[in-house]
Symmetry: C2
Amino acid sequence: MSPDALPLRLEALPLRLEALVFDAYGTLFDVHSVMRRCEAFFPGRHVALSQLWRSKQLEYTWLRSLMRRYAPFSTVTREALAHACEALRLELTVERMEALMAEYNMLSTFPEVPKALGSLGGVKKAILSNGSPDMLEPLVAHSGLELDAVISVDEVKVFKPAPQVYELAPKKLGVAKEKIGFVSSNCWDALGAKSFGFAVFWINRARAPLERLGFTPDRVVERLDEILL
Amino acid sequence: MSPDALPLRLEALPLRLEALVFDAYGTLFDVHSVMRRCEAFFPGRHVALSQLWRSKQLEYTWLRSLMRRYAPFSTVTREALAHACEALRLELTVERMEALMAEYNMLSTFPEVPKALGSLGGVKKAILSNGSPDMLEPLVAHSGLELDAVISVDEVKVFKPAPQVYELAPKKLGVAKEKIGFVSSNCWDALGAKSFGFAVFWINRARAPLERLGFTPDRVVERLDEILL
């Protein structure tokens, strides 16, 4: 074990981890600004549109992965938006689609994120995201976050929660999976990572009930900075 | 080609098919009676519960398939119901869960189904379903439908739309996939079958917009008996 390994509390037990790997969308980055832009384009419909867009976006990542018809997250996100607008009978122009997609490249981090990440000394830090490089590169550059790696599922051409995706982190970071803590606000992503073999923190920002997939997170918190407590 | 092959119209072109393979839930069998029982147990909440239960049921099949943590559809369906009730703050007793699961074993077919299937002479007919054998066997027996095969994904321990699932049909029926017509009311299932290589009919009972997954059905109808027209 590295002498710099960081003590993090997982339930009652402290566990020495050598790397922390974070999901991006909804975990480090707040997608609220995309919702705000939806409201500007489609007054009064932004909640319905944001929810359907997000659920189709995830659904299409899972379906394409199972069909073995991977397409980059930027493509899937556009296709999900087009379907959601059609289902809700909202007129989606090319300009609106591009303006909404552009928001994804300059999302804000959640308020506690920069300080929390800055205080995590002694461990490697990385992002592991469904996002394609064309989305993640401008996003991370815009955020100013300092990370040891920004890893995209695009390298393995399949989306989360396939184990090949989580396998990228130990490979890229040179750290055994048992020494990696994985942090996600998406419960299904946290459980996929747990199934793979990481120690897992679920940031349950929305106080949602646990997904029932045969696994439980090692620790549940409501904000990123609580994983240090 | 078999001399008995059935002419079916796919868009403008008639195509000679040697087998028709049907999805079960929502395609041949109407899940309305499960919704009715939800209403009896949770007055005024059956629409919300039925929708969330169904969406979690599908989500869990996709997630478990990607995680390589297959569990039988009966288990997944129970887990999805438990999550949906927790999310909606509805009290689910063991008795209620078992009563709702029992409804699945005696679903009615849609009104046009028995006659439509009876008139499809000259082709093999089969069900290919996510349902586990413990769910499909009583369901098909109760329906009285005459089929050449009832195929469950349980044999390959992965759910639709993985190609290994669709591959079961040509294997079991001894018919090349190009000679098989696949019929589903679930658009994503129809497109998974199309990606695999079947000729595909989407029964769009709900007049929903097409899912955007890089494929289109060969023909879209609103009722099962229209595939004969």
